[in-house]
Symmetry: C2
Subunit: 422 residues, 2 copies
């Protein structure tokens, strides 16, 4: 069987796995697969079972990440990892993460069906807890694998179970003591390439009319999950000159950051600002009281470390100006950061060539979102990503990836393994 036909023949398998993880996460109106909980665990079991059916060796590492290994008879190079994650946010969509793991299985199944032998080990990984909703920190599976957990991370509490990250990992068969050693579970120098397929989290491919894109870079981010603004509670009738309105200070901050964003983009420096939580205090706010307290979250993302650094300087200046003008205190509070992930030029070229051989016109795009790929790129692993068309963004019940578009990504992956750099 030709490889293209062999890929198409895997459509039913891929659809069955997509439907399987959807059933596991069913939580109307969306999908919830809780990290280190029932949702992620059952999805891992389903994927492991699918791997065993293809004759893949399954294993679980100290971070409780699942690996399915298609061993080369005689490895000519270091292994290729094809990975993504199986957890979701609460009432999110089915495809953010899971589609990438299933793509790896689909590619191996297609290569096997086409009678192609791997020249080196191909490993499909389901990395744990990519979503930051569970611990206020994302990309945890790849952080565990590559010893990139920030200090204290193992003691963070799970948003749903309340267990610490260490307890959560141990409960899933992992080994937090090993993680505390602070050395990678796999030496990055022994990973030949890292590939990740992920739905695009913006409708740029819908706009472009293409099923798959070759990713150029993933944004890094700086996050302040709990920015607090303190002014003074006061009565509705207070004249303007006496007010220290924390909510209006929050409005100022949000719009100043949006203006910064638009100015940066206009100057050719892509980035994004998201203020997801933005609120007066539910237990205190009222129609007839000026808000003395306001809280917001901030996610700043950009595609180079220097750019992020400059944006943080600007954030500080904006906050200082608003504090002074409005008589409020702005505490940026907790800060987490993730490095931008630049894709490997050789992999970009190799995947683009594979796409051409598959007859696909695959644009090259910056990824809107950060991914586990960032940690591999930061660890010096040659990293590549394919983005799959998706109309409605991710982190919502309306993610709209077509299986046919995922099959297109699988064909590029399989073609690259069969005839490309692999």
């Amino acid at each position: 069987m030709k490889l293209a036909e062999a890929v198409t023949a895997q459509t039913a398998l891929v659809q069955r796995l997509l439907d399987g993880v959807a059933a596991i996460g069913d939580d109307p109106p969306g999908i919830t697969r809780d990290a280190y909980g029932r949702g992620e665990n059952e999805a891992q079991a389903l994927i492991a079972e699918a791997g065993r059916a293809l004759g893949l060796e399954t294993s679980s590492d100290a971070g409780a990440n699942l690996t399915l290994r298609w061993a080369a008879r005689e490895a000519k190079a270091a292994p290729v990892l094809i990975a993504s994650h199986l957890d979701s946010i609460v009432q999110g969509g089915n495809f953010d993460g899971a589609a990438g793991v299933i793509a790896g299985i689909g590619a191996i199944a297609a290569l096997q069906a086409a009678g192609i032998e791997p020249r080196r080990d191909i490993e499909v990984m389901a990395l744990r807890c990519e979503e930051s909703v569970w611990f206020g920190l994302g990309l945890i599976g790849s952080r565990c694998l590559l010893a990139r957990l920030p200090p204290g991370a193992l003691d963070l509490p799970h948003a749903r179970s309340g267990r610490t990250l260490a307890q959560s990992i141990a409960a899933c068969g992992g080994d937090p003591a090993r993680l505390r050693q602070g050395t990678p579970l796999r030496d990055p120098r022994d990973i030949g390439a890292y590939l990740e397929v992920h739905i695009e989290q913006a409708p740029q491919l819908v706009e472009a009319g293409a099923p798959v894109a070759i990713c150029l870079a993933n944004p890094g981010n700086v996050r302040h999950p709990f920015i607090g603004i303190t002014g003074e509670d006061a009565h509705t009738g207070l004249p303007h000159r006496f007010r220290r309105d924390a909510a209006l200070a929050g409005a100022d901050l949000s719009l100043a950051l949006e203006r910064m964003w638009l100015a940066e983009e206009a100057a050719g420096r892509p980035m994004a600002v998201t203020i997801g939580r933005f609120h007066t205090l539910p237990e205190r706010h009222s129609l007839t009281a000026i808000a003395g307290d306001f809280e917001l979250s901030l996610d700043l993302r950009a595609f180079s470390a220097d750019h992020l650094k400059a944006l943080e300087v600007e954030l500080g200046a904006i906050a200082a100006e608003i504090s002074a003008r409005r008589g409020v205190t702005i505490l940026l509070g907790e800060r987490s950061a993730a490095a931008p992930g630049l894709m490997d030029p050789g992999l970009i070229a190799g995947l683009a060539a594979a796409a051409v051989r598959c007859g696909l016109d695959a644009p090259k795009l910056n990824s809107p979102g950060s991914h586990d790929a960032n940690n591999f790129a930061a660890a010096g692993v040659k990293t590549g990503m394919l983005l799959v068309r998706n109309r409605n963004g991710s982190h919502n019940p309306h993610e709209a990836m077509e299986t046919a578009d995922l099959m297109a990504a699988i064909s590029v992956l399989a073609e690259w393994i069969a005839n490309g750099d692999a």
Copy 2:
């Protein structure tokens, strides 16, 4: 005893009553006297007891408002009402409302001690439920008295007890069936004057260094307690051109209304804008999601009906512009309105003259807040108000009226009754 000395001699009584209502409302860190509940009922009982000790007749009307009547032997004119309210917001301060009721008692006690006979009946009223937190509608006691309840008001649920307003009034001995007749409990033409003492809800008197002000006008308001903005939930990485961010639309709306405010003030048209609740949805918002929904409350206040009408037109234009620009829907939702209250020129002059005779330099100010006085003014009753110095605004635990400043207001009130227009 001279009247000035007689006023000073009531300081202990006034302090005892202030402390008494504080003890009733004790709810750290503030004061809660729930309307039609334990807090307001016990405060009414305390005030009624103080009235009886002065030989005043106590009665309760169909709205469950308390009246203490100091009867003239031979009335030469229609009665003077001295009124305010005893309810507070949740964990507010002690003085917003209660100080005005106690001022009426203090004035009568001082006049009695000075051996002065009233030329017409002097009535101290504790009007029910002035605060809008209990039913989303304020000034309810005076609305009941003057048949100014909006349609459906008697069916509104109490924020704490869940009982309707009709049930709440009945439970306090009132007569909702009488209120449904829609005619005033007292004919406004039979009220000679309405006087209200209230703490200033801004620090303008602190700024001016004066204990008491003569009020020129109370603002009317237009309120939208539940403005809803709907955009689209989306992922953090979504490029700006695709976003329909409801939170940033809320930020735009708030700052546009603030700019309108400052422009109006600069043009000599005093007003205020307060956005008390201003929030993404607690059950849905997250660090990594663009908010598709946002809610806020709006209180617009100004000192003439025409000005309020113009501000509403402007609000509509601002909302339409933001909706179009951000691709969101803005629903202003429920609307309530209260008419501005212009003080009677004769009473302004009379109270100012009384202040001069008391040796006080009392500035003339617009009131920052609306009060029950608005309903009396709107009903055609000659209305006057005294504002008492207060550093920290109201509706918060830090209201900071000095008893000495309340005694100054009582002296003006007593002087006006003894030698002025009364």
